[in-house]
Symmetry: C2
Subunit: 143 residues, 2 copies
């Protein structure tokens, strides 16, 4: 399966343009339900000081939805629905990446200054993770 840049081929995944307001008083980016944020956030996590060459993610969730925003710096994200795979560059605090449940997500090429915020629809649950790619594909292709 090849990786392309057309995220519209990946079931449910999408890039979301947040509202950005620039003024002489500074810059403001806003996202809210239901326009920009597709779910209510019950957990957040932030990744930073990621070493060069590090690859993170490489799992999927059974139920949990996620929304990624690179607050500063840049990171590349691959989203994979089991049949199609796309890579996008997150390098703008006004750009969100929505990953529905049953998306295999990989994040890599973190810049030294990258700060990646992830909003999640659910609290942590170890049983919600799918770590085996073959198991993921079998589940994803059933949907």
């Amino acid at each position: 399966m090849s990786v392309d840049t057309d995220i519209t081929q990946v079931v449910g995944a999408r890039l979301v343009q947040l509202k950005r307001i620039d003024s002489e008083n500074g810059s403001l980016v806003v996202g809210e339900l239901p326009m920009q944020l597709p779910f209510v956030t019950r957990r957040i996590f932030t990744l930073f000081d990621i070493p060069e060459g590090e690859v993170r993610g490489t799992h999927a969730h059974r139920q949990c939805e996620q929304f990624l925003i690179c607050m500063t710096g840049s990171v590349s994200a691959i989203v994979d629905d089991g049949a199609h795979k796309a890579e996008v560059l997150l390098d703008d605090p006004a750009l969100g990446l929505y990953m529905p449940a049953l998306t295999w997500g990989t994040q890599y090429k973190y810049s030294a200054d990258a700060v990646l915020l992830v909003l999640a629809s659910d609290p942590y649950d170890a049983d919600d993770y799918i770590h085996e790619y073959d198991e993921f594909v079998a589940l994803a292709l059933q949907r």
Copy 2:
């Protein structure tokens, strides 16, 4: 009314230590309901490129609760319940500032690289804002 650094004197406001995990693969900070995040997030906003000397906030909300995290750089935040006022420095992505409804919030002394994330419990509603300090104090002292 003097400003001090004892946030415990300000009704409902508090600093929240998020869970931080440092490893050779990078740093991860996590906050989730109900331990660290006191409400479900329905809106986020991000402030950056704030000019030196800029003062932001200086309003309160009737219902909306907020949770502030400075993702990079630093910013000073004043929380005021109408009777007590405290100033805290937000300079750590693992440190959250919870501001309940009816808190007069002011943010200033943004460092040039500051990126301030605000999680909000409610979508935007112009009627939820209190812009007049006297009106805020009258409401706050009734609670």
